[in-house]
């Protein structure tokens, strides 16, 4: 495929437009939430939840819904898992990373078993849910609308509760001592993360989605010294990397997810090197 192919054929143009819209919105949300998650040492929660997302897809397959029609099932399951993870950590039953590991590996194991039962063997469905869709043709009208609505909701809630999120991210103890609703804030972040992960999994795949959460935040933290700037830069870097990675994938005939992440990784490495040079 070449650039002129992408823009000349109206059908292809439509598909590309959809993928770009959903991808940019998801990248933006993932990066913005990622800053809080990375700073609170919850980098792996994205990974854990995406594995639960894989489990949810297997349930969808078992119910005969197919992986194309599964957001309605995965969103509640993953939100529930996020809630469970938070409660496990908060109540001190398990430390955050252990809880994430337990939930994520357990979910994958059960997911693979269900997939195999449902379909008799491991099929390409598993492959595409693990590594993301090789082609983006599978994005339906409903996916498009749902992704847009979800992303707008995530960004809006984040902005409304920005001060609370900052305070809790910086110092949970202080926030709690002065009466801020810390549990609510933790719940909000988990639920928003869950939504972003589920929506993003379609494009990037459940193995790699957590890179979208972590890389832009790390890059931005190298570049800026204030929280507001870190958030802004993370969002911008994430969207730019997605667009670059997406077109690179189209032109080279490679799957979207890995390309986007390789671009993210390169940008991070460049920033790290430049900063060291200074």
């Amino acid at each position: 495929m070449t650039f002129s192919d992408i823009f000349s054929d109206p059908m292809v143009r439509e598909i590309v437009f959809r993928a770009l819209t959903v991808g940019s919105l998801v990248s933006l949300c993932a990066a913005v939430l990622g800053v809080s998650l990375v700073l609170r040492r919850y980098s792996m929660i994205g990974d854990g939840l995406s594995h639960v997302g894989f489990f949810a897809l297997s349930v969808a397959a078992a119910l005969g819904l197919g992986t194309t029609n599964s957001l309605e099932i995965s969103i509640p399951i993953v939100i529930f898992a996020a809630f469970l993870l938070m409660k496990l950590t908060e109540s001190g039953v398990m430390k955050g990373d252990a809880a994430t590991a337990v939930v994520s590996t357990g979910a994958v194991a059960v997911g693979v078993v269900i997939f195999t039962f449902a379909q008799g063997s491991m099929t390409s469905d598993i492959c595409s849910s693990l590594f993301g869709s090789a082609s983006v043709v599978t994005l339906t009208d409903k996916d498009l609308i749902l992704s847009i609505v979800m992303s707008v909701l995530v960004i809006a809630l984040y902005l409304v509760f920005y001060r609370l999120v900052f305070s809790v991210t910086f110092d949970e103890g202080f926030a709690k001592a002065s009466g801020a609703p810390v549990s609510f804030c933790n719940l909000l972040i988990s639920v928003l993360t869950a939504v972003v992960i589920v929506v993003g999994m379609k494009l990037i795949g459940s193995i790699m989605i957590s890179a979208l959460v972590v890389f832009p935040a790390l890059t931005a933290m190298r570049l800026a010294g204030s929280f507001k700037r870190v958030i802004g830069i993370a969002g911008a870097v994430s969207v730019i990397c997605f667009v670059l990675g997406f077109f690179a994938g189209c032109l080279l005939g490679l799957p979207t997810g890995p390309c986007v992440i390789i671009v993210n990784m390169t940008v991070y490495a460049l920033c790290a090197l430049c900063k060291r040079g200074n």
């Binding site: 609370l164 002065s178 010294g225 204030s226």
Partner: protein, 245 residues
């Protein structure tokens, strides 16, 4: 003076291991309560229970006429924050959050500015917290606590790791707040002499359940106070003698 905080038979523990047991103390409006004691005697644990971060195993902590959002808390330094990418201004402003959850209001900004000025960090307000020295970071956290403290300021070792001049300066700013604005202060400290000068009440948590609660004069006269102050004196004289040599 009206009572604002009462602890009754307070017992605090980690996994059945009691750290503070059967503690009875009370704090009145305008008081300055100083908490002394050796490392590991449970000072931070008690302070966390006072601000509601830990649930008591037995007994109660009761506030009267004091709301959660009128408490400013300065935690004992945690390593996780030291490289946090936020500007000084953002952090100080977060102290005003509990009273205005939504957007930052003009009065929030003015209050943050006033406290940054008081602690001498107004010139570095745009700087990143991660790029500050330990003493500057402590000033920022203190300014944030001031913003949140409408009635009660709870400080866990506010001057650890700071040089004597800066320590003295920060202590006098805190004492000033206590004396002129009538702000109630509860402070953990390792400087018994300074504490005895300024505190209206002293709580000493000793190892093995020994406790003292009373006025500074009573503390000076008590056995536990004598012992602790003596150790402190000895330390000082030792230092002086070294300097002379």
């Amino acid at each position: 003076m009206s009572r604002i905080l009462t602890c009754t038979d307070l017992t605090l523990s980690y996994e059945k291991q009691a750290v503070v047991s059967e503690l009875n103390i009370h704090v009145d409006e305008g008081d300055c309560l100083c908490i002394l004691g050796e490392n590991g005697s449970g000072k931070s644990t008690l302070v966390k229970a006072l601000v509601g971060l830990i649930k008591p195993q037995r007994g109660t902590v009761i506030y009267e006429g004091l709301k959660r959002h009128e408490i400013g808390y300065l935690p004992q330094q945690s390593a996780a924050q030291k490289d946090f990418p936020a500007s000084v201004e953002e952090i100080v402003l977060s102290g005003t959050l509990p009273r205005s959850m939504g957007y930052i209001k003009k009065e929030n900004r003015l209050e943050a500015e006033k406290n940054m000025e008081l602690l001498g960090i107004l010139p570095i307000r745009k700087k990143s917290f991660a790029a500050l020295s330990g003493g500057q970071q402590q000033r920022v956290l203190l300014a944030r606590a001031f913003c949140a403290a409408k009635k009660l300021l709870v400080l866990d070792e506010p001057v650890t790791g700071l040089d004597p001049l800066v320590s003295a300066e920060l202590y006098s700013i805190i004492e000033e707040k206590n004396a002129t604005e009538g702000l109630t202060v509860i402070s953990v400290s390792h400087a018994p002499e300074r504490a005895c000068h300024t505190a209206s009440k002293i709580l000493h948590l000793g190892g093995g359940g020994a406790q003292f609660f009373g006025t500074a004069d009573e503390y000076l006269a008590s056995e536990i106070g004598q012992k602790y102050l003596c150790a402190d004196d000895h330390h000082h004289h030792h230092g002086e003698r070294r300097k002379v040599q």
